[in-house]
């Protein structure tokens, strides 16, 4: 079985979840990516990605208790699975391999 490599945005989402730690759901993920990357992020993209990552088995999710400030709706909390972590590490390795030896040269050409 060939493993699908992660897209950039998928990596951002997975990394944001890991950065946030516990009790992670849509709203803080969007905030975290915006805060760290300095770009504005479409929530729709995040939710679609979350769903896709879960379908790939890289995330697992569960519903928390409903709260009144959310119109009585529960939070859908997510956690990166072992497969997700492995996938992230693999993506990092691939990129690192490609970067090897280029750091200095690229920095110079800025």
């Amino acid at each position: 079985m060939t493993r699908e490599s992660l897209g950039e945005f998928e990596q951002l989402v997975l990394l944001a979840i890991l950065q946030l730690g516990d009790d992670v759901y849509g709203v803080p993920i969007v905030d975290e990516i915006e805060r760290r990357t300095g770009r504005s992020v479409a929530p729709a993209a995040v939710y679609v990605t979350l769903r896709r990552l879960e379908q790939k088995g890289l995330l697992s999710s569960w519903m928390s208790d409903p709260t009144p400030e959310r119109g009585g709706k529960a939070r859908r909390c997510v956690r990166v699975t072992a497969a997700g972590r492995a996938s992230l590490r693999e993506s990092r390795d691939v990129i690192d391999q490609m970067w090897k030896g280029l750091d200095r040269g690229l920095r110079g050409s800025r």
Partner: protein
């Protein structure tokens, strides 16, 4: 909230709550930080974008089994699946391409939305009010039978009980004929007495309509009786309002005009009496035989409102008319005394549908025509924009073609873009339509029938959407098809000529703009004529000061048993009137008060025949006059001048010489402008002569558009009726006066309800409400039309300026002055506008007669309106052209030439 609903539809169940909950949370946060407006906008944007993303996602899941899903569907791609997937790709690409041209896309979508929204809203109203069949079984069989007196040009003169029986028994045209006799009735016994609108009908009324009750039963053959059998059916509205929606109400006794009626049925909420009523919807039905008391002995005196009838299956309207005419002929021969040849009496049969909606049909169709113009203008505008864009993209298309894209593939892509635009415009248009519909229903005069059943019409939406889809596709595609003939290489070279689409496309664009201008002129002329009519109506003097004047009505009951009828005795009526007036005049803020049997502009008041002493009786009965029974203070209260003789005094009462006052219009019509004071008139040979003691100024009684009618005033204490109105003049606005009036009247007689409490100005506004509505909506359309036309002119000219930048640069380089360049562009732009205005003028002259029926005090070819519209259009077009023209005059020749 539309966005929210859309979102809930689009989201898959597993993530729905999580995501909507997140949105709510962020909405709350944004509201706290940035205010509700921004939060709502952000929410809406996110919801729409989420809905779109997830819809695409779901389509993708379903069509091409995603490689991401391990538990995938069978991997055999069906042909339909791949085709759909490639369509999805086209759509994705189209959306991306359109987002790169946001200005173009926004204008196209907004224009389409405006056209689609306005059309859907108007058509929905017209459909519900005018076109849709009445909500009864086989509504096409339902008719109303009435009569006309051709000699007096009087239509709808009602039906006599004996005629009713003849129509039923002497023809085989109808499966049923029911008499209609609308009355006021006082219902007492509750906390407060209430006047209700009631309808006395023959027992078969509900059977003819095919209407079933919600509770209890409707009338059956057992409810037939010669007079008024004391059973009643009430409307759902009455049941809820007065009977507390009590399901056990059947069998309860209601006291109606003093008589006990047994409540046998309650009608469903959507049942309404189809046809004219006196003031409001009918709330109570009672059976009537019209053969015995309280009705006069059956005769051929036509006091029934008309008859509701159902044609036998297979009988056409034409057959019914023909055979009823024949029956009329027979009746005239059999009863020559009842039907004098000089009156030109004839039975009339009208489809019930026309009877219900007839009065509003013309203005509604005008609106429909006007809104169709708006859609056409919108389509012309979109066509223009599509042409422009297609021309701009010829180079892109040529590159693709030379890289191997087939013409079909290119066409498909353009079609997809068009469809995306049309669908987006349609969705936004749907929102516009639902807002517009709410606005229309709010603006519409309350007398428009069937307003309650207005809802968004799917058919209308489909037609408008289809038309805009056709427009976008046609005008997006035409240049693409042309491409096959254009040398691809030339197009790639990107010369000015190929980019502007050549002289052919420029001509089409010019024509489209001219057409837009023409249609805008037509709409503006229509709106202008209506505005002038409305203004002219505002100038009509009703004959007295209408400010600070309150009107209210009281109905004195007429029980079936005359022994219970306190107010059938004139002394009791007079005593009631005197005491009520004294109490009303004592109310704080009240200056004067008067009693009258009628209120000017307050509703239908049929004229009476009369004869003048010493003059031959007009056999055709053409000497008619409107009768007002008034208290002495009437003229003072209203401020109507007595121009000759005297007004009424307290001495004009029962037992003194019967007197009368006539209006100036009566003097003009019946005394040739002479002096009527001292002459005598009577209303019937068996009634006493009345001496005319004075002449009063003219008052408009029926419609502002009619000249003042002749009026006969008689003193209330010499002649009084069961219908009473109070007219109350105050020094200024008096809050709560209506309630105070009702209280004082109840203090005199606790069983008398006061109803129809209106200020005189409200009655006047109601009289012009329909025109006001038409004028406002047409004005709105005119504004939209001129806006769209300007956008069209501006678009075409600024595009042409961009295309001709190089040419203009060369002109400037070889010595053209900025003024000359300005003139060049202005001339080109105004040429379209002028051609359009000329065409629009001709069309307006041709179409203006269609709205003649809605005009007052202005001719359909009103030079002032035409000139004003043309001037407005010219100024607007000048502005639209001036902006790009100024840009052209500032072209820097060096920069322009470097563009190549």
């Amino acid at each position: 909230m539309i966005a929210r609903r859309l979102l809930e539809r689009a989201l898959p169940g597993d993530v729905r709550d999580g995501i909507t909950g997140d949105l709510d949370e962020v909405f709350r946060r944004d509201t706290g930080q940035h205010g509700a407006g921004l939060a709502r906008r952000r929410y809406r944007r996110k919801a729409v974008s989420l809905a779109c993303r997830f819809l695409v996602e779901r389509l993708r899941d379903r069509l091409a089994p995603s490689p991401f899903i391990p538990t995938a569907m069978p991997a055999v791609p069906s042909t339909r699946g791949t085709r759909m997937a490639s369509l999805l790709q086209d759509v994705t690409y189209a959306v991306r391409a359109l987002r790169k041209a946001p200005g173009f896309s926004a204008v196209v979508i907004a224009t389409l939305a405006l056209g689609i929204g306005a059309n859907t809203a108007i058509f929905s109203v017209v459909h519900a009010v005018v076109l849709s069949p009445l909500p009864y079984a086989q509504p096409e069989q339902l008719v109303r039978v009435t009569s006309e007196l051709r000699a007096f040009d009087a239509q709808d003169t009602g039906v006599a009980p004996l005629e009713l029986f003849d129509y039923q028994s002497r023809t085989d045209l109808f499966s049923g004929v029911a008499g209609l006799y609308p009355i006021n009735a006082n219902v007492t016994g509750g906390a407060e007495p209430e006047r209700v609108e009631a309808m006395l009908v023959t027992w078969n009324y509900f059977a003819i309509l095919g209407a079933a009750p919600e509770l209890g039963r409707v009338f059956g053959p057992d409810d037939d009786g010669p007079g008024i059998p004391e059973v009643a059916v009430v409307s759902d509205a009455y049941w809820r309002r007065r009977l507390g929606a009590d399901p056990g109400v059947i069998g309860r006794t209601l006291t109606i005009d003093g008589d006990p009626f047994v409540l046998v049925g309650v009608m469903p909420p959507d049942f309404r009496h189809p046809g004219r009523t006196m003031q409001t919807d009918v709330d109570l039905w009672a059976p009537a035989g019209y053969r015995a008391l309280p009705f006069p002995a059956p005769s051929r005196r036509r006091f029934l409102e008309g008859a509701l009838a159902r044609l036998q299956p297979g009988v056409t309207l034409a057959q019914a008319r023909e055979r009823l005419d024949a029956l009329g002929e027979t009746l005239r021969r059999e009863f020559p005394a009842d039907y004098p040849a000089s009156t030109g009496w004839r039975p009339l049969v009208v489809p019930l549908q026309d009877d219900v909606v007839g009065a509003v049909t013309a203005p509604m169709l005008i609106l429909l025509g006007a809104v169709a113009f708006v859609l056409l203008i919108a389509c012309a505008n979109v066509a223009n924009l599509m042409l422009t864009r297609a021309s701009e993209r010829q180079a892109e298309m040529a590159v693709r073609a030379s890289l191997g894209a087939t013409a079909g593939r290119l066409a498909r892509q353009i079609l997809t873009e068009s469809a995306v635009l049309a669908v987006a415009g349609g969705l936004l248009g749907l929102m516009f339509a639902s807002w517009g519909l709410r606005l229309l229903v709010e603006l519409a005069p309350s007398r428009v029938p069937r307003l309650a059943s207005v809802g968004l019409d799917g058919q209308a939406l489909a037609v408008a959407l289809g038309l805009s889809l056709l427009t976008t596709m046609l005008f997006g595609l035409a240049p693409a098809l042309q491409m096959r003939r254009v040398q691809a290489v030339a197009a790639v070279r990107d010369s000015d000529r190929s980019r502007s689409g050549g002289p052919g496309a420029a001509r089409v664009r010019g024509l489209l703009v001219a057409a837009e201008v023409a249609m805008a002129v037509v709409l503006l002329v229509g709106a202008g004529l209506l505005a002038r009519s409305f203004w002219a109506l505002q100038q009509v003097s009703i004959g007295f000061d209408t400010d600070d004047l309150l009107t209210a009505r009281v109905w004195l009951p007429r029980p079936n048993d005359p022994a219970n009828g306190k107010y059938l005795v004139a002394e009791n009526r007079i005593a009631f009137g005197r005491e009520a007036l004294a109490r009303l005049e004592a109310l704080p803020g009240v200056e004067r008060a008067a009693i009258s049997s009628q209120i000017p502009m307050g509703g239908y008041n049929p004229p009476l025949f009369f004869e003048r002493e010493g003059q031959a009786v007009d056999q055709a009965g053409r000497t008619t006059i409107h009768s007002f029974l008034i208290s002495p203070g009437y003229f003072d209260t209203l401020g109507v001048p007595i121009v000759r003789g005297r007004g009424f005094t307290d001495f004009d009462r029962a037992g003194t010489d019967p007197v009368a006052i006539v209006s100036e219009a009566a003097v003009r019509q019946y005394w040739n402008g002479g002096n009527p004071v001292g002459s005598r008139i009577r209303l019937a040979p068996e009634l006493p002569w009345l001496t005319v003691v004075g002449v009063a100024g003219d008052v408009r009684t029926r419609q502002l558009t009619e000249p003042a009618q002749p009026i006969l005033y008689r003193p209330f204490e010499q002649a009084s009726s069961l219908t009473l109105a109070f007219l109350i003049r105050t020094a200024g606005p008096v809050p709560g006066l209506g309630e105070a009036v009702a209280r004082e009247v109840r203090a005199v007689d606790p069983d008398l309800p006061v109803y129809a409490v209106r200020t005189m100005n409200e009655l006047l506004a109601a009289a012009v409400a329909q025109r006001e509505f038409l004028m406002r909506v047409l004005g709105l359309f005119g504004a939209a039309a001129i806006g769209l036309a300007l956008l069209g002119i501006y678009g075409v000219i600024s595009y042409s300026v961009v295309q001709r930048t190089r040419e203009i640069g060369i002109r400037v380089a070889i010595g053209a002055r900025p003024g000359q360049v300005l003139a060049l562009v202005l001339r080109q732009g105004l040429a379209h506008a002028i051609a359009g205005m000329a065409a629009g003028l001709v069309a307006a002259l041709l179409l203006a007669r269609l709205i003649t029926s809605q005009l007052y005090g202005v001719a359909p070819f009103d030079p002032v309106t035409l000139a004003a519209v043309l001037a407005l259009m010219a100024v607007a077009a000048g502005l639209a052209v001036a902006v790009p023209a100024r840009r052209a005059s500032r072209v820097d020749p060096i920069a322009a030439l470097r563009l190549e």
